[in-house]
């Protein structure tokens, strides 16, 4: 990997230049919580000033810029003798600034499913190819457990990764595009002092992880605790509202629907992201619901994240961002559920 430094001033110029030709997405503050703290989310930036480089947590992950919540897969022009299908994979070039290491690792996991599997998803692939990713380091928040999930650092899956080392950004370069862009804005070679500052920031970040989740025995434990009362306990609280899957950087389950316009001349085939916690997720043709109980649905969400995906790809699907835990009104988070399972096992 190549490293450079860029001053804040030049970084601003770089972002503004990128905004001229691309759609630029970044963390923006839109509302204040009851404590007066900003609530952030990844949205289109209209000016550099809207970009919050000091943001803490984005309520939702930037997943939707790769897997939109709703996406038209095909458009049909209907006529008397049949129809013509129109499919587009192309998207306008996009830049996402400020993605965390966990979110970049989430994309690498999605790549396994969407881009590297037997049936790649061309829609995902097009978005992935046309998106320039500028990552950003941060000090872990109280509930970040990305370290436990081995997702606290990103080595690939991005173009540029920034670490704030005081007056400059320390930039890890991972693509030709990023290298070319950076050089247009007077990026400097890394000095001994920069290296020293970078290592200092990195070790400070490392020292700040507070939340740990034990996952080494998890796939096995989940099979052993299949009938555990823990699932019932948390399942009874679960609102089956799907918030966890919507804010999750890796949940990718979806449904397909077809719709027709009011004069019956055009139709669309639409993909929509769904959640395995929703009541009718496992309802099949004829009306039978394989998972009518909330506790069973909750269990299977955890099974996919921490066991099923491990079996298929040798890694958990969860990256430890705890957005699901934050979004859940009922207080269900991977940390509490997994700790509970481990405790039950000891008894």
């Amino acid at each position: 990997m190549l490293f450079k430094t860029i001053t804040r001033e030049n970084f601003k110029k770089m972002v503004e230049a990128l905004m001229e030709e691309n759609e630029v997405i970044g963390p923006k503050a839109r509302d204040l919580d009851t404590e007066g703290k900003k609530i952030y989310r990844f949205l289109k930036l209209n000016s550099f000033e809207e970009l919050e480089m000091d943001y803490t947590r984005s309520y939702s992950s930037p997943k939707n810029y790769f897997l939109p919540f709703k996406e038209d897969l095909a458009v049909y022009d209907l006529h008397d003798k049949g129809w013509d299908q129109d499919i587009h994979y192309t998207i306008h070039p996009r830049v996402i600034i400020g993605m965390r290491a966990c979110d970049i690792n989430a994309l690498l996991k999605l790549d396994q499913v969407m881009a590297k599997s037997v049936y790649p998803d061309p829609y995902y692939f097009a978005r992935r190819r046309n998106t320039l990713i500028i990552g950003l380091d941060h000090e872990p928040l109280e509930d970040c457990f990305c370290r436990s999930m081995n997702a606290d650092t990103a080595f690939h899956g991005f173009d540029l990764f920034l670490t704030d080392i005081g007056k400059d950004y320390f930039a890890a370069i991972n693509s030709d595009t990023a290298y070319m862009i950076l050089n247009r804005f007077d990026a400097k070679d890394v000095t001994k002092e920069d290296q020293f500052l970078y290592k200092k920031v990195k070790s400070r970040i490392e020292s700040k992880f507070k939340t740990q989740v034990t996952i080494t025995i998890l796939p096995e434990l989940m099979d052993l605790e299949f009938e555990s009362e823990v699932w019932k306990k948390w399942g009874d609280k679960c609102l089956s509202c799907g918030s966890c899957a919507m804010v999750c950087p890796t949940c990718y389950c979806y449904g397909i629907e077809e719709d027709i316009d009011l004069d019956f001349s055009m139709a669309v085939k639409r993909k929509f992201l769904y959640s395995c916690n929703l009541l009718d997720f496992a309802t099949v043709a004829g009306g039978h619901n394989f998972r009518p109980r909330a506790d069973v649905r909750l269990k299977y969400r955890y099974y996919h994240q921490f066991r099923g995906f491990v079996e298929a790809f040798n890694q958990s699907l969860c990256v430890g961002c705890n957005r699901c835990g934050k979004a859940c009104l009922a207080g269900i988070s991977p940390k509490v559920v997994i700790d509970d399972l481990i405790e039950t096992e000891k008894r």
């Binding site: 009851t34 309520y59 008397d80 609102l239 799907g242 009011l262 992201l273 979004a327």
Partner: protein, 249 residues
């Protein structure tokens, strides 16, 4: 109207208002850019808000409003006799709606408070399905025009409409809204049927439940959450009773 070369039957429809604000009927007449296409699919034979025609040969009846008098109940039964398909539209018809407020007090007190000495024929608020059988309930206060158009497409093609079973939270998260609970507000989104695109939370207003309960809503868990968050019993009750959406929970 032709669909893939096949000429579709154009069902005759009637729209009838009972006790309500007529806002849902108005929604049907709204969105001028699509009106021509909408009325290309159906033939309006009885709809006071947009036509002076008053025919009785409608095949689909849309019922707006709750039922509050015996006369209304009788009219509704007559409409049911005629209509092959009866659709209740809006919170008043489906749930009782805001009108249901009066059912929480002695009827005489309510009449006196509003009309004074003037006598008025009014009774307890009833949902349409408490009087006649209902084939489809199109929820919302008011109903959404895109959803009405979506329903009409289904009726014309003879496909059973599938409303979302899940709660508003799904659509709220999809719009990247801030959760209004984080902003200190009360919200019924977790137990209310989706389909509104979370329009209230989008505008930083908690959900009031106008679309009725989502299917198998975990009402108990939400109550616990609301109490834990410190909302008073009075505040919670006011919100839950507003549209009479959760009387069955």
């Amino acid at each position: 109207m032709k669909y893939l070369g096949i000429t579709l039957a154009k069902p005759k429809i009637g729209v009838f208002g009972f006790t309500g604000c007529e806002g849902c009927q108005l929604q049907i007449a709204n969105n001028e850019e699509n009106l021509k296409d909408l009325f290309g699919l159906i033939e309006v034979v009885n709809f006071r808000e947009i036509s002076s025609e008053k025919r009785g040969d409608y095949e689909i009846a849309f019922i707006e409003g709750s039922i509050t008098t015996e006369k209304e109940a009788k009219n509704l039964k007559n409409i049911r006799e005629q209509a092959g398909i009866l659709v209740a539209i809006g919170a008043c018809a489906c749930l009782g709606g805001v009108n249901n407020m009066k059912s929480r007090f002695p009827l005489q007190d309510v009449v006196k408070e509003v009309y004074g000495a003037h006598s008025i024929d009014t009774g307890p608020v009833r949902k349409v399905r408490e009087i006649v059988s209902v084939d489809v309930e199109l929820p919302g206060c008011p109903i959404s025009k895109p959803e009405f158009e979506w329903l009409v497409r289904h009726l014309v093609l003879g496909i059973e409409p599938q409303f979302p079973k899940y709660p508003v939270c799904v659509e709220c998260k999809q719009r990247l809204n801030s959760c209004v609970f984080d902003m200190g507000m009360i919200c019924l989104g977790p137990v209310t049927r989706a389909g509104c695109d979370a329009v209230c939370p989008r505008n930083r207003l908690g959900c009031w439940g106008c679309r009725g309960s989502s299917e198998e809503a975990n009402f108990e868990s939400l109550m616990e959450i609301l109490r834990e968050k410190g909302f008073s019993e009075e505040h919670i009750a006011e919100r839950i009773q507003f549209f009479n959406a959760f009387s069955g929970n």
